[in-house]
Symmetry: C2
Subunit: 329 residues, 2 copies
């Protein structure tokens, strides 16, 4: 009998990241191709199929793919497999599970990307020894996935984990969601870039501006690079974002008393100035019992948290263990 293999797909706004894996989680092949979201739903589906064919070819394995799972940056119904809204893809009410199953002729499972990143770290990464884990991703936006009591917790309508829209400054800057002073509007990569642009508009922020090569090219990465070169203003921006992040995380620690907080996403690469400010606020603003229990750590799987979560979901949903369970019923 051929070995059972699974496919995990981390579907992002800019890239499709696909891996072929054994049921142990061992990766046999991986590929990253542009999403080309502007091409529309059908086009993106064809690109997912193409990425699956590529990992199959690359691996040269004669195993049999028993199923696929995909993480999507948006709101969705995991059982029905319908993506309600994925702003970075421009998707509204896409029956992704059904469409992919038809295109690939294999079972497909779907979940939110932050949920799957939490699952990935729980099954294969930093959270293998804990039952209560919060994964927070800080990049363009801020999202999170919750593993509570050893299970992915998604709330009453699959909407849990919206830490990015926690109000921390009720008269603060406007957020994409329409509210003011959300964590995402204060500490995301987008917020860091906005703070830098505001400095430039005041005739300051020269170091950042020079590194970025123009005001409209300023990103969180330019701020981070300027800070690494010792730029005082960039360091201040990172510390300010880090403080807000620390307050948000302290609130989560007090409410959920997790054993582990895993931090991922591009903006967490900013290093020490961000982390130190963040840790200082966590130290100040958490109750002792919860603080002593919690470990705060970077994502052990780095850029692969979501991908490995998709692999984990594929194994759980379609793997031989799942098949055994189904048989036993």
């Amino acid at each position: 009998m051929a070995e059972s293999l699974v496919v995990g797909v981390d579907l992002g706004g800019t890239k499709i990241y696909t891996a072929l894996a054994r049921e142990t989680g061992e990766l046999l092949a991986e590929v990253k191709i542009p999403t080309e979201a502007a091409g529309g739903v059908e086009h993106v589906l064809r690109r997912i199929v193409r990425s699956v064919r590529e990992v199959e070819k690359q691996s040269g394995s004669c195993g049999k793919i028993v199923g696929l799972a995909v993480g999507v940056p948006g709101t969705l119904h995991p059982f029905q497999g319908i993506v309600y809204q994925a702003p970075n893809l421009g998707w509204l009410d896409v029956p992704l599970k059904g469409l992919l199953e038809e295109a690939l002729q294999m079972p497909v499972a779907v979940d939110n990307d932050a949920n799957l990143a939490a699952l990935g770290e729980y099954v294969f990464g930093a959270g293998q020894r804990v039952d209560d884990l919060v994964y927070v991703t800080v990049s363009t936006g801020i999202g999170s996935g919750l593993i509570l009591g050893g299970k992915l917790y998604t709330g009453a309508s699959f909407g849990a984990g919206e830490i990015g829209h926690m109000t921390l400054d009720r008269e603060g800057p406007l957020c994409n969601c329409g509210n003011r002073g959300c964590l995402e509007a204060l500490a995301s990569g987008t917020a860091m870039a906005r703070l830098a642009v505001e400095l430039v508009d005041q005739g300051r922020g020269e170091g950042i501006l020079r590194l970025a090569g123009g005001k409209d090219k300023i990103t969180a990465e330019s701020v981070s690079r300027a800070a690494k070169a010792g730029d005082e203003e960039a360091l201040m921006i990172l510390a300010a974002a880090g403080r807000w992040l620390g307050i948000g995380l302290a609130n989560v620690i007090n409410l959920l008393n997790p054993a582990l907080l895993v931090l991922g996403g591009g903006a967490m690469q900013a290093g020490k100035p961000l982390w130190e400010a963040m840790e200082d606020e966590i130290e100040k603003r958490t109750l002792r019992a919860a603080r002593r229990q919690v470990q705060v750590a970077p994502a052990a799987l780095g850029q692969r948290s979501g991908l490995m979560g998709a692999v984990a979901l594929a194994i759980r949903s379609h793997g031989s263990f799942a098949a055994c369970q189904a048989k036993a019923k």
Copy 2:
């Protein structure tokens, strides 16, 4: 065979509230006696025993008490039954389970009072039809209990639910915990009274002062009464507290996507001015999917949420169903 009965105890800083119940949750007798916490641990234990004897006598039932559960206002280890810290009782490291089992010669279960209030509302009250419920109590302090996925969620070290120490105003008023701008320092009964005293210190707040009968007699209840009499300043205090409460609850709704938020505690009796301000912030600050899913309701069991939670815990821990399960193992 005599019918199996259980005892639930809601141990508060000022009152011991004890009930004898059938395994269906039906109450046969209940009694409220002063805690007399100043008398020390042994004294309070004797008073708990006395309350148990009283409900037994009152009910006149010939059933057999199979066990007891007690809710404690503090941090504790539920399995070991040790109360780490209960400020309102003046307790530190009290092995309550062991002491009560010795005194009563019956099995005893222990949990935090807010957790049990959540359990009470889940099993017998407003939350009987939902799986994801957050119970929030607003009185001297602000605490919460979480039912997630149909189970009491207590975190990695039984410390979950500390919504009262969610930072909402990082430069805000000092909280008992040492931090600034916690929800509890902004919206608890204590915070409402403090706001009124600050008004009086500025030569204002006459209406509240008159109703309270002296500055040092001002409580949240005086504010609430003055508001009911139409006092503008009292109404402002309630609205301010309600807004902060709404922001804190909105944060919980976005993070946990519960089906139900149950609000209990004395300060929630303040009525419309508090509730309207609270609901307005929830409306403004929650994401649509989570907002559409959640219902915000007063505690269906009123002052008995914690008591009925203790009854539920006693049934689960010591009742015949629990006994059957133990046998089956």
